[in-house]
Amino acid sequence: MINLTIDNKPVQVEEGTTILKAARKAGIHIPTLCHYELKGMKLENRPGGCRVCVVEVKGRRNLAPACATDCMEGMEVFTHSARVVNARRTVVELILSDHPADCLTCAKSGECELQSLAQYLGIRDIPFKGEQSHYRADFSPSIVRDMDKCIMCRRCETMCNKFQTVGALSGVNRGFKAVVAPAFEQDLQDSPCTFCGQCVMACPVGALTEVDHTRQVINAINDPKKTVVVQTAPAVRVALGEEFGMQPGEIVTGKMAAALRRLGFDYVFDTDFAADLTIMEEGTELLGRISKAMAGDKSVRLPILTSCCPGWVNFFEHNFPDMLDVPSTAKSPQQMFGAITKSYWAQKMGLKREDIVCVSIMPCVAKKYECQRDEFKVDGNPDVDYSLTTRELARFIKQYNLNLKDLPVEDFDSPLGQSTGAAVIFGTTGGVIEAATRTAYEVFTGKKLDKVDFTELRGMEGIRDAHVDFNGTDIHIGIAHGLSNARRLLEMVRNGEAQFHAIEVMACPGGCVGGAGQPYHHGNTEIIQKRADALYREDAGKPIRKSHENPDIQTLYKEFLGEPCGHLSHELLHTHYFDRTDKVVIEGK
C-alpha cells in the first residue's frame, strides 16, 4: 500500500493506483475530459492529452496529469492550488478557443462534457481568439462526424481500435490540424466502420452524433396517406426513463407505448414479437446444423453465430470474409419485423406496401444503416423506413410536451405486439442465446424445461462460455460482447483452438442495453448493468417465457409462414452476407 496526501488529506491506495483514482477514493473531485473508462470491461482511455486533470505534485517541475500518473509513497498532491486552477482554466479556454460556440443547436448540448467543464470553471469569455479548425462534415447512414468540434480526446479512437478492433478511426495530421478521422480522411462510409456507434457514445462533445431521422418520421406521421407503424426494441424500455429523470433500469414499457400512441403512430408494435420469430428461425437453423453434424455431415459449419446485431454483421463482413457461411442467415428482429409488417400484416389489413411507413425505435445507431441495406428493400421500398435511437425518441416525446412519468401504462397493439420473456432479454449480452436455448432445448429433447433461467449464460464478462446439457448431448455455447472479444473468439474458432455449437455476439458493451443509441452513460457501466438487470426482471415477470409458446407467433406460422425455415421464411426472414473487404476505398487504388 502507498500512503500519500491529496489536498493535505491522507490517502492510502494500492500500488499502481493513479492520482485520479486515489482522489476519487478520497472523495476529491478532479475534473477530466479525455479520460474515459468502462469499468469492468477492461477499457480505459487515458492518453493524458487534454491536460484538464493536471495537478500539482510537490517537488515535480511541471504539473502532472492525474489520470495517468501513479501514486508514489509520500507524494503530496494539490488538486486545486492557484497554479493548478489557472492552468486548468487556461487549458479549457484553449480548447474552447478551437471549438464552435454553437451549443444552442448542438446535438450534444446538455450532455456535452466540455460544456459542463466550462460551466464548472465559470468560464464566461474566451481570451484567446484565433483560427478555428474546419473540416468537411461527414454524413454516413448512421453517424455524423462534425470534426470542427473534435477536441482530440481520442476516446472514439480507443473505442474503435481497442474495444472494437474495427480500426476505422485514428489520429491524422499534426499540430493544430490534428484530428481523428478514417484513413486518408475518407468518409466513414468508405472505411471499415461497422456503425456500432460506440464512438458516438464515448464522444464527450458533439463531434460524433447519430444521424437524426426524427423530422422524417414526423413528416410521415403528418402524411394522411401513410399508415405509420412503430416497433420498439427490448433495450429501449429499460433506458428511456433515464431521459425523463427516472433511475437507470426503470421499466417504462407501458408508458412508452402510451407516448408513441400520443405522438401519432397508427400502430404501436413490439420488436420483441420479431425477436420471438428470430428464435423460431435461428433456433431451427441451429438445431438443423447440430443434427446434421451429429449425423456426420462434414459440410455443416458450426458454430452458428447470431446475426441480430448489425454492427457485428458489418464487422464479420469486413473482417472474416472467409466465414460468411458461419453466421445464422436469420435476419435481425428489426428486419424480420419490417418484412412481416409489409407482407403478412399489410395483407391482413388490406394495405399497400408503399402506404405503410415502418419506424423502429432502437438502442442502436447501426440499425439506421441496417434498414437501408439494399437486400432489405422490395422494389426500392425498405422493409423498415426509419430507425430512431432511444435518444431521438426521448427528444421527440419532450418536443410534444409529453412527460413519460405522467403517462398511463398502455399495451402494445395486436397482433405484432405480443411477445415472451425470451424476446425481452434479447437486449442484453447472453440474452439471445438464452432465448434460443430455451426453445432449442425443448424442440431438441422434446422435454419441457423445468427451469427457464440459464444463469450460466448471464454476466458482463467480455467472453463467456458455458455448457448446456441437452438431455445427454453437451452443447457448448460462447458469448462475446464488444467486437474485440468477438474477434478473439472467432479467431479461436478459425484456428481450431475452441469448438462451439453456437456463439452469440453483440457489438456493444453489455449488449443492446449499452448500445450507442441509448441515453449517454458517460462510461458508467453500472447504468448498463442496471438496464440488463431490468430486462431479466421483465422476463421473469412475463407469463410466457419461451418464444415458441408465443400464440401470435404460432398463428403467424399457421396462417402465413408455414414452418420455421420453410420456403416463405427463407424469402422473407433470411438473408445473406457480403465480403466487404474490398469495399474499403483507398484513394488512388
Binding site: V91, L94, G130, R174, A178
Partner: protein, 599 residues
Amino acid sequence: MHVLICGGTGCKSSNSLDIIDNFRTILKEKNLQNEVQVIKTGCFGFCEKGPIVKIMPDNTFYTQVKPEDVRRIVEEHIVKGRKVPELLYMNPENKEHVSDSKHMDFYKKQIRIALRNCGFVDPENIEESISRGGYEALAKCLTEMTPEQVIAEMKASGLRGRGGAGFPTGLKWELCAKNKADQKYVICNADEGDPGAFMDRSILEGDPNSIVEAMAICGYAIGATKGLVYIRAEYPLAIERLRIAIAQAREYGLLGEDVLGTGFNFDIELRYGAGAFVCGEETALIHSMEGQRGEPTLKPPFPAVSGYLGKPSNVNNVETLANVPVIITKGAAWFRTIGTEKSPGTKVFALAGQINNVGLIEVPMGITLREIIYEIGGGIKDGRQFKAVQTGGPSGGCLTAKHLDTAIDYDSLVAAGSMMGSGGMVVMDETSCMPAIAKFYLEFTCEESCGKCSPCRIGNKRLCEILEKITSGNGTMEDLQNLRNLAAVIKDTALCGLGQTSPNPVLSTLDNFWDEYVEHVVDKKCRAGVCKKLMKYEIDREKCIGCGKCAKGCPADAISSANYIAPGHKLSSMTIDAEKCLKCGACISGCKFGAISVK
C-alpha cells in the same frame, strides 16, 4: 618559407590586406619574393587577436599585427631568424609569449571526440576506421570487461545524452540492463530534427562505424542482441553509408553472430522515419518504429522497462553514441578531464546565423559563448553588433550579451532560460527582430506538434497568433501579458518535452528583449527593420526633386506627386500613400537622390 596571413572577415577589417601588400613589397625590396611566399588564408578562428600572421614552417604565430609591423617581421624573423617577441601570442594566464602555435591554448578550444574521424576516414571503408582504432573499444569490452564494468565505466565518465535533455547515459544503460527480458533493443535515435542542427547526419556520413561499434557496446552492456537505427528518410547518404558500414562490419565479424569470436551476437537494422520533429522524443520514436502514429505517450513506463514492442529498450542519440568507444578505450578518467564537472566531454554545435565562420564545431563543455562566437566563429558578420544567440533550436531560448561569458553546459543553459538541445546555435545581430525570431520558432513547433495534448496543439497556435498580431503592429500590452501567461501554462502542462519547451523562445525573448516587444506594441516600431507591417516608407521632400522615377517603379501605384515644391527645385516632390505601400523597397533602390527612407 611561407607567410600565412589571415584573410578572414575579421582580420580583413583590421587591415590584413594592407599587411599582405606590405609583405609583398618589402620581400621584393629584399629580393626574397622567390624564397618566401605570401599566402592569404581563411580564418584562423582567432579573430579577437587579429590580424594573424603565421610563419611556416616554424609555426610562429604573430597576433594583432599592424601593417607597420611587417618590416620588423621581415627583417628580424625572415632575414635573421629571430622571432619578434612582442608580437607573439601571450598566454593570458602566465603572461608568457608562445612562439610555437602548437602550444597555444587556443587549439584546446575545439577538441574532436565525437567528430574524431569525420573528415579523416573514408566512411565507406571500414579498414580506414580500423586503422584509426575503430572497434577496439568493442573488442576491449567483449574480451576484457563484463557488462557491469562497461556500465560502470560509462557511469563514471559522466557522459550525458547529447540529444538535448542531458540524461546520464550510463544510468540509462543501467536501468535497461536491470530489466530481465527475452529480447531487448538498442535504439539509435538518428531522427535529427532541430532546424539548423546537422551533427548527427555529419557523424553518420563521416564516421558510421563509430555508431555501429557503440551500439554493439551498448548491446553487450544491457544484454541486447538487436540494434535499430531510427533514421529520417531525408538522410539518404547517411543511410547508405550506415548500410555499408553495417554490411562491412558483418563481413569482418564485428557484427552479427559470434562477434570477434566471443560468442556475443549483435545485429543492426535500420528503420526509416518520415522526418517528424516529435519523433525525436523517445516514446514517439518507438511508436513510429512500431508502425503507430508518431506521438509521445506518458512516461512511466520508460523505454528501459517497456519500449519497442513492449521490450526493454535503450534509446541514445547519434552524438552520444559516438562518444562511447572513446570513453571505453581512453577511460572515464580521461574523459572527465575534458569539459566541466557536471557535464564532462565535448559538445558538437552547428554554428549558424550572422557569424563569419558558419560551421560544425566540437568544443569542450564549459566553454563560453564569447569564445565560440569570437574565437571559433570568427565574430559577427560585417562587424555588426552581437545581439543574441539562440541555442537548443525550437525548444531552446535566446541568450544575450550578458550571457557571453557564461560557461556552457546543460545546467547553465537551462538556468539561463535556454537549453542545450541537439546543438543548434544561431547567432543574431541587430538585424534580427526578437519577436519575429520567437514567431519563427513557434511556427516550426506548430507544424511539428503531434497534436495530442491541448496546450501544445492549441496553445502554441495561439502563441503564434499573438506573435503575428504583435509583429504586424496590432498587438496590445494585454497581448504581452497573455503571451507570458499562456507560455507559462504550456510549459507547465504540455505532455512531452516538445510541448514543455516550445514556449522557451517566447519566454526567453520576453525576458531578455522586453523593450523590443513593447516597442512593437506601443511605438509600432521594429528596430531591426524586419517586421514589414511596422515599416513606413517616407520621402524627404527637401531631397526629392520630383523626377517621378519612384512612382514609375512602384508596383502598387502608391507614389504620387505632392503639392510641395522644395526651394531650388522645379517640380513638386513625391509622396507615398502608406495604405497602398507594399514595402517592397523598389522605390528606394530606384531613387538617385537618397530621398526615400524607411522609418
